[in-house]
Amino acid sequence: MLPLFKSHYSIGKSILTLSPNLSDSDNSGPDSIIKICKDNDLSELILLEDQPIGFLEARKHCMDLDIKLIFGLRFNIASSFDDDESKQNSLHKVAVFAKNSQGSKDLNLLYTKIYSEMGGTASYKVLSSCWSKNLMLAIPFYDSFLHMNSCSFSTCIPELNFTEPVFFLESNGLPIDNSLSSIVQDYCGVKSYQILKSKSIFYKNRSDLEAFQTYKCICNRSFGRKQSLSKPGFDGLGSREFCFESWKESVDE
């Protein structure tokens, strides 16, 4: 099962840092992905971020500690740009990973194009025109076109013929997990796409859930919107399992 880490550089999405501090003396601060990797003898770090700003820091620390870094970015993508409503109704997520150092540059160029020319929402046309053999397309388990088409009235039409995507399959103790797993497996069975079991990791232990939710409340604050731990209003965050502890238990079983 692949551990898909996300760091605090994806603002509001994770409380894990990329700090190189490996000391055990101070346990009061935030948990570091680098330290988790080191403490658990992980030879590679899969970092799936929403923004590329943590890349250099992750790369430096991984090089220092001889950890192989696999870096990817998650993008918003729409399959229709006819008008705002159809764009909104076709919004979903894809993930793009760099396969090598040239892939990192290609990924950076792709990110720049999407955020400088397309307002942060990619299209399959742009994705395919910027595509290179140094990139890998992955379809996340949640918020993918399969998820959106199944659990909402979205109409997401993927165009995946420019590459061979892999599909992530997760199990995080959410009510929809079983149904969504079947949908992903059926789709990939028909299309002969590869499935990779994975787990999104946003905090270290289950007991860190409240810290994570608190951080999300802070990041989501806005006028007229009152969030608290007793009323967080996070759709989809109905499980404590998006953590390293849960991943470790799964692979140790």
Partner: protein
């Protein structure tokens, strides 16, 4: 011709349930369920009613939540019982394939609370009952928006309904009782057992509006 529809299945068995909790957090174990009410409806009759206060040593309920859920400390302390015993009674129905599980906004809330209840009692997450869920909130939304059930997967269709957030669509229990001309006493509307009895009446009315 329409014998497959639930409204014609006189021998269908249902459990209608509702939790009262400390808050609205769907994952935190601090959001403890402090009351659980459920009733069993079989062969067109209510055959069993249950109403329990769940005893936790470290219940932390805010003043706001106390007000909204009508929490009375003295009653709670007097009547609260072992949550595991209650869970075992509920789960006999939950994990019995012969029962449909009915409730209002259960897909968006109560099934998560049931999971918290299980975890707090040392049990594993188990959503294997999902295909037997019937959420009257989802059905009420579909009825209000004139959306028919015309898909093959009822659960996924309900999830789609759950995810609709449209202004002006009222689906709360009080409104639905008024809409379906179900008599109700507003002063009792936050009494857990009373709520699920009214929920059952709403469900029976909606069954005649939806092709499920």
């Amino acid at each position: 011709m329409n014998n497959h529809l639930l409204r014609f299945k006189k021998d269908a068995r249902y459990i209608v349930f509702d939790y009262e909790t400390c808050g609205l957090n769907l994952a935190s174990l601090n959001n403890k369920p402090w009351q659980l009410a459920f009733l069993v409806y079989e062969n067109g009759k209510i055959t069993n009613k249950h109403d329990y206060y769940l005893k936790w040593d470290d219940l932390q309920i805010s003043e706001d939540a106390k007000r909204v859920t009508n929490f009375k400390e003295s009653q709670y302390k007097k009547y609260a019982v072992d949550p595991l015993e209650v869970l075992n009674i509920l789960d006999r129905y939950f994990y019995d394939d012969n029962f449909y599980i009915v409730g209002h906004n259960i897909i968006g809330f109560d099934i998560y609370i049931h999971n918290i209840h299980r975890i707090l009692c040392g049990k594993n997450t188990d959503y294997s009952y999902m295909n037997r869920l019937i959420d009257t909130n989802c059905l009420a939304k579909a009825d209000a928006l004139k959306i028919d059930f015309n898909e093959k997967d009822f659960l996924l269709w309900q999830l789609k309904m759950q995810n609709i957030n449209k202004k002006g669509i009222k689906t709360n229990l009080k409104f639905l009782c008024e809409k379906f001309k179900i008599p109700f006493d507003e002063t009792k509307l936050h009494n857990a057992l009373y709520d699920i009895e009214k929920n059952l009446d709403v469900f029976k009315s909606i069954l005649w509006k939806m092709e499920i």
